[in-house]
């Protein structure tokens, strides 16, 4: 997949993973594992970026005698998710058009060959 596209998608994946309830790093990775290949070194810059653009906030919570960081989505983060879904609907419409044209073109291509 295109690197820029994947980068943008992963940001959204992380926001989606913390949408219902605040979550911590390892849990986010486990949540996303079935859908995208994802590692700690991918997650860290994403979390930094999302925090810097105020799409999520960080709170440390004590767990087994150490601190664990929980990531909370902000209202700006929720808006970003919504905007993504709207954008994607448009993209899907365009994709359906491209896909249809592509398959029709293939069929007519064979027909032309016979003539």
């Amino acid at each position: 997949m295109d690197i820029q596209l994947k980068r943008g998608l992963l940001d959204i994946c992380v926001l989606a993973a913390i949408k219902r309830k605040a979550s911590y790093g390892y849990e986010i990775i486990k949540t996303l594992k079935p859908y995208v290949s994802f590692s700690e070194s991918t997650l860290y810059p994403i979390l930094r970026r999302l925090e810097a653009s105020r799409l999520l906030t960080v709170h440390a919570v004590e767990h087994n005698g150490r601190l664990r960081k929980y990531y909370h989505i902000t209202s700006a983060g929720l808006l970003r998710l919504q905007a993504f879904i709207e954008e994607w609907k448009e993209i899907v419409t365009v994709f359906e058009f491209i896909n249809r044209e592509e398959s029709e073109h293939d069929e007519s291509g064979i027909f032309d060959g016979d003539l």
Partner: protein
């Protein structure tokens, strides 16, 4: 590799970052390793899942904006003495213009590169347009004037048009190469800057 070894290895390689960022990075990786160990991984396995510390550190540094790196590195280690501040102020007429000149030189470098790219594309476009013009002129001359020079004009028009089309694709390739080259230069500068800091 143990957790402590992994964290030390990363810490050593991200010294160029501001102290606050170093601390946050180490906390993050410590938490990830602890969480994995709680999940049943052995320490060795948990650390292995993090990847190669050198690569991890490199990614973090390349992901940090250059101004932040510069700011973290040019922060004076101690407060400036009063006489140093006075010298800096008195010396401003000297180093001010020098700094200005340096900025202007870098800026003009970029302008020259872009001017080169734009003039290349404009040249090709001009070939294309003059081709069309020559064909039109030739056609008109063929109808109303002498046939031979008209055919010659129209013919050279087709030639120009024909040359300009492959040249256009070459021009676009050249500009793409230029952009890639500039990006490469910036990354090169950045990693050189980072490496220098690690050695010191």
């Amino acid at each position: 590799m143990t957790k402590a070894e992994f964290l030390t290895a990363i810490c050593r390689r991200i010294q160029a970052l501001p102290p606050h960022d170093i601390e946050k990075t180490l906390e993050f990786y410590a938490e990830m390793i602890d969480d994995r160990m709680e999940d049943g991984y052995s320490e060795e396995e948990a650390v292995r899942e993090m990847g190669d510390p050198e690569e991890v550190a490199r990614q973090i540094l390349l992901d940090t904006p250059l101004p932040k790196l510069v700011k973290a590195n040019f922060k004076p280690k101690r407060a400036l003495h009063a006489w140093e501040i006075v010298l800096l102020l008195l010396g401003f007429p000297l180093w001010g213009p020098l700094l200005f000149a340096a900025i202007v030189v870098i800026l003009s470098f970029f302008i020259v590169i872009w001017a080169l790219a734009i003039s290349l594309l404009i040249t090709i476009f001009a070939l294309f347009v003059s081709g069309i013009a020559a064909i039109a002129a030739g056609g008109a001359a063929f109808l109303f004037g002498e046939k031979a020079p008209a055919l010659f004009t129209a013919g050279s028009g087709f030639l120009l048009l024909g040359i300009s089309i492959p040249l256009f694709y070459l021009g676009v390739l050249a500009v793409k190469g230029l952009v890639k080259g500039i990006k490469w230069c910036i990354i090169k500068c950045k990693s050189r800057f980072i490496r220098k800091k690690e050695e010191s």
